[in-house]
């Protein structure tokens, strides 16, 4: 054995080391998100594994020191969507709400259940009904669910989400708004059923306005 490794071996080891340092720490975050995307443990494991190996294969192309977490989530999201579409083509999944066209599902939610309903007690609600929260989230249509997971679980900025999901920021904002409202409505119904909160219909709140609109309005004084 030579004292010094050849250049390819060295490059390979350097790549491994960089990957272990930059990418591997995000594996738990990928997994927590994958669980709610795929709705089951086995599929989540497969998805994380596929995404991580893909990421390693393309790691040479990734610019080290840039946003590795967002890069990994883009790979995982693409992998998930592609597998999902393939499965749908093969008709291996039952026709659930997820497979309806987006427009059909993007009906505005009438109520704004979050405000003043759970109030200070929502911490308790999440503690008591954690499994129901997960179940309710999994029932949110996939395009909205992804955006809610990226914003609320992973704290990505709108701009990062737009890059990960490959849609304009305005679309991110409206999907996030609707996704959260759908989830809140589901949880409100559940909380009402359980007698946790009193049913009370409220007016729908304002739709989100784009950041540009805000900035334009500000400029005009």
């Amino acid at each position: 054995m030579k004292a010094q490794m050849n250049m390819e071996e060295i490059a390979r080891l350097e790549l491994e080391r960089a990957f272990l340092r930059e990418a591997v720490p995000h594996m738990d975050a990928l997994y927590a998100t994958a669980l709610r995307l795929t709705k089951n443990k086995g599929n989540a494991e497969d998805l994380v594994q596929e995404a991580m190996l893909k990421a390693f294969r393309y790691f040479g192309k990734y610019q080290q020191g840039t946003n590795c977490k967002a890069w990994l989530f883009k790979i995982m999201t693409n992998t998930f969507i592609n597998n999902y579409r393939k499965a749908k083509k093969r008709k291996e999944v039952s026709i659930d709400e997820d497979s309806k066209p987006l427009e059909e599902r993007a009906v505005a939610v009438e109520r704004d259940p979050m405000q003043e309903k759970f109030g200070d007690q929502d911490t308790m609600f999440f503690k008591l009904f954690g499994d129901e929260v997960k179940k309710a989230l999994e029932e949110v249509p996939v395009d909205f669910r992804i955006v809610v997971l990226l914003a609320d679980l992973q704290d990505f900025a709108y701009k990062e989400i737009a890059e990960i999901v490959d849609v304009p920021i305005g679309t991110v904002m409206s999907r996030l708004y609707r996704g959260r409202k759908i989830l809140q409505t589901k949880l409100t119904s559940y909380a009402e059923e359980q007698g946790y909160i009193d049913p009370k219909v409220e007016d729908s709140s304002n739709q989100p306005t784009s950041l540009d609109a805000y900035r334009t309005r500000r400029m005009q004084g």
């Binding site: 004292a3 490059a11 790549l15 738990d28 994380v48 979050m114 929502d122 679980l153 989100p208």
Partner: protein, 269 residues
């Protein structure tokens, strides 16, 4: 600002999308409007609760091990790695003047005490730090091992023809040999072994230290041996030279405890 104007932006505000100046304007409204304030608090709580509720789960141990071993397997063809895709590795030359070559530690350390100006290497010197940093990286990584302990003879013979220097594993007091794997330090092949030291992990890397540098101001004399001791990111790294091989010992123990460990260092000749 009216409530209806504020509420149009409440999502973006709660999601911290505004810059400081913009936030200031929105917060002016909030400070004067308890109703919007409450809405913001509720929405912030909701977001925090949802996150807490969803982030409990971490990757199962066997999945983690499986992914890591697939990434780190030595069979490169299985991962379809093309040389042109990998990051170019830059080989750096060592400025030979005014610094201590570690392989000559014994000689150099002697002269360090007599002519410090010539041989002193600043702690921040870029040529000395990679060794420390990489030793910590390998320790922190806790990567899958390729050969298991606790018999040091078994681990030593596994390394046999894989490294170009003899492997004599030291017997540390109170430490159990968990196992070892191949590693690299800068461009050198290194042997990595890990121990359990009363519940703490201790990593040891063996490599040919020729040409590598250590910060000369961190040298300690322990039991008649010169040891470079560096504290970094909560870890203590000790570098020892023995029979032409350099030993880097890393753990998250205090310098005092590390000295105790190194004192029990008794590699067979």
């Amino acid at each position: 600002m009216k409530c209806e104007n504020f509420l149009q932006f409440i999502d973006a505000y709660v999601d911290s999308e505004f810059d400081d100046l913009e936030s200031d304007e929105l917060e002016m409204h909030l400070s004067a409007c308890p109703s919007c304030r409450e809405k913001v608090d509720n929405q912030t709580n909701w977001k925090r609760n949802l996150k807490e509720c969803l982030s409990e789960e971490s990757v199962p141990t066997d999945l983690r091990a499986s992914i890591l071993s697939q990434i780190m397997r030595s069979d490169e063809s299985a991962l379809d790695i093309h040389p042109e895709k990998v990051i170019p590795f830059q080989k750096k030359g060592f400025p030979k003047s005014a610094i201590v070559a570690f392989s000559f530690a014994a000689v150099a350390l002697l002269s360090f005490y007599t002519i410090p100006k010539i041989v002193t290497v600043a702690p921040a010197s870029s040529d000395t730090q990679p060794v420390i940093e990489q030793a910590i990286d390998w320790h922190r990584g806790n990567f899958p091992i390729e050969v298991t302990g606790p018999e040091s003879q078994r681990v030593e013979s596994w390394f046999g023809d894989k490294v170009a220097f003899p492997i004599h594993l030291p017997a540390f007091e109170d430490a159990n040999l968990l196992g070892g794997r191949l590693a690299n330090l800068k461009e050198r092949r290194a042997a990595y072994v890990t121990y359990d030291l009363n519940g703490k992990r201790l990593s040891l890397m063996l490599f040919n230290g020729e040409g590598l540098l250590v910060p000369a101001n961190n040298i300690k004399h322990i039991e008649g041996r010169d040891i470079a001791m560096v504290q970094r990111d909560g870890y203590t790294v000790a570098l020892v030279q023995n029979g032409g091989v350099t030993y880097a010992i890393t753990s998250d123990i205090s310098e005092k405890d590390m000295i105790k460990v190194v004192s029990s260092f008794s590699a067979k000749k």
